[in-house]
């Protein structure tokens, strides 16, 4: 769990936030509202999650409910990894 969260946070910091002096993004902050992710950024995020965690995201799963905060992403990825056949 901790490992998954660290990887996801690092990815978002390196690829969307870019800055270190920017106030840290909280686990529950909306990535959309914070302007962190743009319209194509979401596809970058999906590609990263699929490669990094060996999961496959169905179109219907690419929704803000699953991806709009670090906490939501972690929960979604943990769920997928727990039952990979369910995809």
């Amino acid at each position: 769990m901790q490992n998954v969260e660290v990887k996801i946070r690092r990815f978002i910091e390196d690829n969307f936030l870019f800055r270190e002096d920017r106030a840290a993004l909280s686990d529950t902050e909306s990535l959309l509202d914070a302007g962190v992710i743009d319209s194509t950024g979401i596809l970058e995020l999906v590609a990263f999650l699929e490669n990094e965690f060996g999961i496959r995201m169905a179109d219907a799963e690419i929704v803000p409910a699953n991806l709009d905060s670090i906490k939501a992403i972690v929960a979604y990825v943990m769920g997928k990894m727990a039952k990979p056949a369910a995809a």
Binding site: G35, D38, L43, E44
Partner: protein, 654 residues
């Protein structure tokens, strides 16, 4: 078509006046390689670099009136010069040449500074009235031809490009942080601001008058739209009647733009607009036309199949130049040297390659379809805004946002986008709908993503400056009363068109290789006519440029006439990464170079560069940020770094 430069007042330099003028005009020789002329008189200096197009034998400049009372140096064309010449001769004027330049002199003598209102053309000129000791600078209505100026003590300097001003001792280039922030919001600075501190651009459709030590700048024409609530203000005729007049105006605008004493060619992108222009030329001049185009390796950008369709249909003699990502990377520093500013996209680079080929083919003049997307509402941003506004009316509706799926069918990255995210990005809250910039908020938001890379110093220098608020305050008084489509069209036509399309991507890329672009869709008669066409005839449902298609349907093969808009785009950050990456990229983006220039945070830029190298998908925002950062670094190196050193070099008498 040419380059101009000069001054009004007393230059504070030991350089002889004529040598100063030669030095200034020498910086823009690429605009006019055929001849050069300078005139230094009491209190004024005019310089000209000529690209001979009309009246090759006797059109030399600067040109003086018969009695020497009026002098002009002129870049561009007065397309209706033959008609004006007839009128002036009827009033008793006697002409010594067949040039359009002389028409300016006589028109000024007949009508004074209001003469510009009679000109149908693309022009930037400086006119000196020796009797009144008055300098007049003028620029065409749409902003096709450039004109920059700056004042130093008691002297006003002007030129077609900033680099000519930087030749004047005492004028050193410094960055204007506000202008940079505007570029990283809109893609261009808001006139009269330029990226160079204290160097200004004369806005389109404006005059500058310098007389008795006073300088005034004022508009002589305005882009205007009818109030949405005023039914009588629109063109209320039938669609067929409007289409018929549109067609007649377009053919006439094209006819005027074929006036030249050298051969005229055409750009053929394969899209609707350049196809219409090419077809119109064919109607007027049936002989074989030379056409030119760019092709891309990547299918995502390439339109060569459509180009070949039009070449066959119109039997033109066609030449194309292939442009790869590596080509873009290679020419990009040259692009920035000519554009004289940071840019957020690489799209100008292929056009530099194109003008290079046109020049090599011996052509100086090309007609293009530029302007049709602004004037007849072709850009996707208009449809996008229409759908967003439609959704904002009823935010709970689940079926309204389905329309978003029909936007951007040509963007592979957006195809995989889920409905809920499309809604999140393009959907609008109802309260946004009242913002005068509503149509452009998604674009401005994506562009502004690059601001994350600003250095702490740049942030401090900006002191919370708000570019959107600045733009809102400049909008015309009646703006809020216009139809939403008119508002969006205004933002594109009055701002993006001169600010970026006609300049960084247009004049500067064509004139870098002494090629003059002419744009029938930007004839001001057509622009004024189109502004009164009811919005429902421009975008019918989600079909863009409906009335234009209606008016020109019989000129084109049916499948070209039906084509939906494919915007002109080029490979962005992939031009600068990978094995083919030009060596300068690593230098300009190195921590040392970034820190020395001071605009961006080196650690953040390093992350961006790593991302562009390692990730398969790079979105719009990061592409724009990468190109924006790199181009700012190149611009800084070309113009700012060492600027003070260069201007201190003592002048050597040649």
């Amino acid at each position: 078509m040419c380059g101009i430069a000069g001054y009004c007042g007393i230059p504070e330099t030991s350089i002889p006046r004529e040598a100063l003028l030669r030095r200034m005009i020498g910086a823009v020789t690429h605009r006019g390689p055929d001849a050069q002329g300078v005139v230094a008189a009491d209190g004024v200096g005019l310089a000209h670099a000529r690209l001979s197009i009309i009246d090759l034998a006797s059109g030399a400049q600067p040109m003086a009136s018969a009695d020497g009372g009026v002098h002009v140096t002129f870049n561009g064309e007065i397309f209706n010069y033959l008609e004006l010449r007839e009128q002036l001769i009827a009033r008793g004027h006697r002409f010594a040449t067949n040039s359009d330049t002389e028409v300016i002199l006589h028109a000024y003598e007949a009508f004074g500074i209001d003469c510009v209102e009679a000109f149908n053309g693309d022009f930037a000129f400086a006119l000196w009235d020796a009797r009144r000791r008055r300098l007049m600078l003028a620029r065409d209505r749409m902003g096709v031809r450039p004109l920059f100026y700056t004042a130093r003590k008691t002297c006003l300097y002007f030129a077609s490009e900033v680099k000519a001003l930087l030749e004047v001792p005492g004028i050193a280039a410094a960055a204007d942080p506000i202008a940079l922030d505007q570029i990283f919001t809109f893609w261009f600075p808001l006139t009269p601001r330029t990226p160079f501190k204290d160097i200004f651009e004369l806005p389109p459709a404006h005059l500058l008058i310098a007389e008795n030590g006073h300088v005034t700048v004022r508009p002589y024409w305005r882009l205007d739209y009818p109030d949405a609530a005023d039914g009588a203000a629109c063109d209320n005729r039938s669609e067929a009647a409007i289409a018929e007049e549109l067609r007649a105006l377009l053919i006439d605008a094209t006819r005027l733009r074929l006036r030249s004493d050298v051969p005229v060619g055409a750009y053929l992108s394969g899209g609707l607009d350049s196809s219409i222009v090419t077809a119109a030329v064919k109607r007027i001049k049936p002989e074989r036309l030379r056409t030119f185009s760019v092709t891309f390796e990547a299918e995502e950008f390439d339109e060569s199949a459509y180009q070949q369709d039009m070449v066959r249909a119109l039997e033109t003699e066609h030449a194309s130049v292939a442009c790869s990502a590596a080509d873009i990377g290679r020419v990009f520093p040259t692009v920035i040297r000519h554009a004289e500013r940071p840019i957020l996209r690489t799209a100008p680079a292929p056009l530099l390659r194109l003008s290079e080929m046109v020049h090599a083919c011996g052509y100086k003049v090309v007609l293009t379809g530029e302007g049709a997307d602004e004037v007849f509402a072709g850009y996707d941003i208009f449809k996008e805004a229409k759908i967003r506004r439609f959704c904002a009316v009823s935010p709970q509706s689940t079926w309204r946002p389905l329309l978003l799926k029909r936007l951007y069918p040509y963007l592979p990255l957006l195809k995989g986008q889920s409905q809920s995210y499309l809604e999140a990005f393009f959907g609008a809250q109802s309260e946004q709908a009242a913002d005068p910039l509503f149509s452009h908020l998604p674009r401005f938001r994506t562009t502004a993503g690059a601001k994350v890379f600003y250095s702490a110093d740049l942030r401090r220098a900006l002191r919370g400056y708000d570019a959107l608020a600045d733009l809102r305050e400049r909008l015309p008084e009646r703006f809020a009363h216009w139809h939403p489509l008119s508002q969006a069209q205004y933002l594109e036509t009055a701002y993006l068109l001169p600010g970026y399309i006609l300049s960084a991507q247009g004049d500067r890329m064509a004139m870098a290789n002494a090629v003059e672009g002419r744009f029938p869709f930007l004839d001001h008669r057509l622009v004024e006519f189109a502004s009164r066409i009811p919005p429902k005839f421009k975008i019918r449902g989600l079909r863009e440029k409906h009335i234009l298609r209606k008016a020109t349907g019989d000129l084109l093969p049916a499948h070209i006439g039906r084509r939906t808009k494919q915007p002109y785009r080029a490979p962005d950050c992939q031009s600068f990464i990978g094995t083919a990456a030009p060596a300068y990229v690593a230098h300009r983006l190195s921590g040392g170079d970034l820190a020395a220039a001071g605009y961006f945070d080196p650690a953040a830029v390093a992350k961006l560069a790593a991302k562009c190298r390692n990730q398969k998908f790079i979105g719009f925002r990061d592409n724009m940020a990468f190109v924006g950062v790199l181009s700012t670094q190149l611009w800084h190196r070309e113009f700012i770094q060492g600027a003070t050193i260069a201007s201190n070099i003592p002048y050597a008498v040649a």
